[in-house]
């Protein structure tokens, strides 16, 4: 999802889909729904004036940052508006924030180590006069560099620099073709299910347009290093991720036959990833199953990540507490 779109767009789009399915004018339908729901009431007040003026629904939703330009184009040409809105609702449901936590675990670990250390260091620094007295009584001359290193502002600066460099490195690794697969290693099950979910959503919306790349990704793509290609459909990247992680699970002939197909829906059907109901593909069941698997993988990964983060925080606290004591011990040892 683009950062530009509203974070609560799923609920509003679901309400619009409901109203259009009831063949009711959207303006009055939204107002009726808003009368019992304070959240929808705010959105009804925002959307209904334009709708009453006769502005088309896709354009109103686009102006309210509820859909992207591409989605607005899809809605405008859709023969069945409620179904098209339902697909958008399904595609707009994002995985929980905990998935983000697991996927970016190296940066989160840095934060878990340094943040408690920063808090402890700040507490120690606030009683620094007491320490100075102890140091003076013991006859310890702290070098200027040590004082600077123990300063909370220095630690804060180090935290920001470390986080920024880790985030930038991770972004770069994920943006370079081939190398990006290294970032899939610490949570392969989550990456696998996430990629499959994106593929199912892309197949449902029938969106085969290439991705819109920023200048940095365009630059990497121009020098043939980019993981994103402006010439291929946007789902190609998710397909490559899923195929890499699932390669050895699939039957070889079936896999080869699927890769030869140009259409994403045909590939998913070929791999039997979409269950049939009354001889018709049941996309809802496929997506629900994928979300369940993703939630399960997220739960399992969080068990590990939680412990790692807890221990990282403990190590940060211990180091921040032990550093002054070790300093005293080393200085006393030299003097003795």
């Amino acid at each position: 999802m683009s950062w530009f779109l509203h974070p609560q767009r799923t609920e509003v789009l679901a309400a619009c889909a409901l109203v259009t399915r009831l063949s009711e004018p959207v303006a009055s339908g939204m107002a009726r729904l808003g009368s019992t729901d304070p959240f929808l009431s705010r959105w009804a007040q925002r959307l209904t004036p334009a709708l009453q003026e006769g502005v088309a629904l896709p354009l109103v939703l686009l102006r309210a940052r509820l859909i992207s330009r591409r989605e607005a184009e899809q809605l405008s040409i859709a023969a069945d508006l409620p179904t098209a809105l339902d697909r958008l609702v399904s595609a707009s449901i994002q995985p929980s924030h905990r998935v983000w936590l697991v996927r970016h675990v190296p940066s989160v670990i840095i934060l878990a180590v340094m943040l408690p250390a920063l808090v402890v260091s700040t507490c120690l620094y606030s009683v620094v006069h007491a320490f100075e007295v102890v140091y003076r009584d013991l006859g310890i001359q702290l070098p200027a560099a040590t004082v600077v290193v123990l300063h909370p502002m220095t630690l804060l600066f180090a935290l920001v620099i470390a986080l920024a460099s880790f985030a930038a490195t991770e972004w770069l690794l994920r943006a370079i073709a081939g190398v990006r697969f290294l970032c899939l290693l610490w949570c392969p099950e989550i990456e696998r299910q996430n990629a499959l979910l994106r593929l199912i959503q892309a197949s449902r919306t029938g969106d085969n347009a290439p991705p819109r790349l920023g200048w940095a990704r365009r630059l990497l793509s121009a020098v043939r290093l980019g993981a994103w290609s402006a010439r291929r459909p946007h789902w190609q990247r998710h397909w490559n991720t899923w195929m890499l992680l699932t390669r050895f699970r699939l039957d070889r002939d079936l896999r080869r036959a699927a890769v030869r197909l140009p259409d994403l829906t045909a590939r998913l059907m070929q791999l039997r990833l979409v269950p049939l109901r009354d001889q018709r593909p049941d996309w809802d069941a496929a997506e629900d199953r994928c979300r369940e698997r993703l939630a399960l993988a997220e739960g399992h990964a969080l068990l590990f990540v939680g412990v790692v983060l807890l221990w990282s925080s403990c190590i940060g606290v211990f180091v921040a507490l032990l550093a002054p004591l070790l300093k005293i011990m080393i200085e006393l040892g030299k003097q003795a």
Binding site: L196, F248, L250, D251, R272, L296, L303, L310, L322, G333
Partner: protein
């Protein structure tokens, strides 16, 4: 810096980077191989596998789809060795090897062995009962965090403690011993740490073996807990379809003529004389089972951190105490 130095620096960094990346990849591959071999050694299928197979086969038996297609579709969702078993089962169902759906699933280890007689009985009672049984089995195993996974944080914490302890004993403790000998300091805790250092590897290996045995035992035992409920479920399904008691008894493998419903229920561990009583008993048993599991899990999750806190606190006390003791001695001298 000359060009030669710069080249040497870059090549050294490159080698280090390659070693790090190679180490990460190697560790990842080794971890997955260990997990896959461990899964292979466990005879029973995983909970996730049984859940997905039961759901899919429920749909297939209802005639909405083909079982082979569903089994192949599950390959991408389950870890190795399940994809191979699924492919073999799909091949068997396509006619390469004879057998009914349940026998094929049992042969390819996609159903827990203790539930196979129950599934076979459901199959003998007809597709409606089998479909209901698969649906119930899938419903029983709602996707949630399994009980065994609750132990993961505790075990990881234990091994982190072992790791820190080993690092301390190997690299830091000898230097402390040297300082303390120099200053003439003697502590009993240091002696205790030294003796613990000799035991630590054995404790780690013993715990790993215990965990492996526990996992294998639990993988079978948890299905034994389900067997009684699933047996009652079949009788209940068959009664809903108004099948005669004699047919149910025959399907369950009882050779006596025509037992009463109470006898039939008793054979599966239930005390009920009517279908309603059995349904109520089943619902009650499910609720009790879920409550017990939740209670056990909650107690474990509360107790485990408290128990683990003891060695952490002792270790922290020892380190801080030793540092303070050294500082005091050094200050006094």
């Amino acid at each position: 810096m000359s060009l030669h130095d710069m080249f040497a620096f870059i090549s050294a960094v490159g080698v280090d980077l390659a070693v790090i990346v190679g180490g990460i990849l190697g560790a990842f591959i080794a971890y997955n191989i260990v997990l896959a071999v461990f899964r292979l050694c466990i005879f029973e299928p995983s909970r996730a596998c049984v859940l997905l197979v039961a759901e899919s086969m429920g749909q297939a038996v209802a005639g909405r789809t083909v079982p082979e297609r569903e089994l192949v579709g599950l390959q991408g969702l389950l870890p190795w060795p399940h994809p191979r078993r699924l492919a073999q089962a799909a091949g068997d169902l396509q006619g390469t090897s004879p057998g009914t759906l349940v026998t094929v699933l049992a042969r390819r280890r996609l159903l827990p062995s203790v539930l196979v007689p129950v599934a076979a009985a459901a199959e003998r009672l007809g597709p409606s009962v089998l479909q209901g049984w698969f649906r119930n089995l899938g419903g029983t195993l709602q996707p949630r965090r399994p009980q065994t996974r609750r132990m993961v944080p505790t075990l990881v914490t234990l091994y982190v403690l072992f790791g820190i302890g080993s690092f301390f004993i190997r690299y830091i403790e000898p230097k402390w011993v040297a300082i303390m000998h120099e200053e003439g300091i003697q502590t009993r805790s240091l002696v205790a740490v030294q003796s613990l250092g000799a035991l630590l590897p054995w404790i780690e290996i013993g715990l790993a073996i215990l965990i492996a045995i526990g996992c294998v035992a639990w993988s079978r035992w948890r299905w034994l807990l389900e067997r009684r409920i699933q047996g009652g479920e079949i009788i209940s399904q068959a009664l809903q379809l108004r099948l005669p008691e004699s047919a149910i008894a025959a399907a369950l493998g009882q050779r006596e003529g025509s037992p009463s419903l109470a006898e039939l229920c008793a054979s599966q561990g239930w005390q009920a004389s009517t279908a309603d009583e059995l349904a109520t008993g089943l619902a009650q048993a499910r609720l009790t089972h879920a409550r017990r599991m939740l209670l056990a899990g909650t107690i474990f999750e509360i107790l485990a951190p408290i128990v683990l806190a003891v060695p952490v606190l002792l270790f922290g006390r020892f380190i801080f105490g030793s540092i303070i003791q050294i500082i005091t001695t050094l200050g006094a001298s």
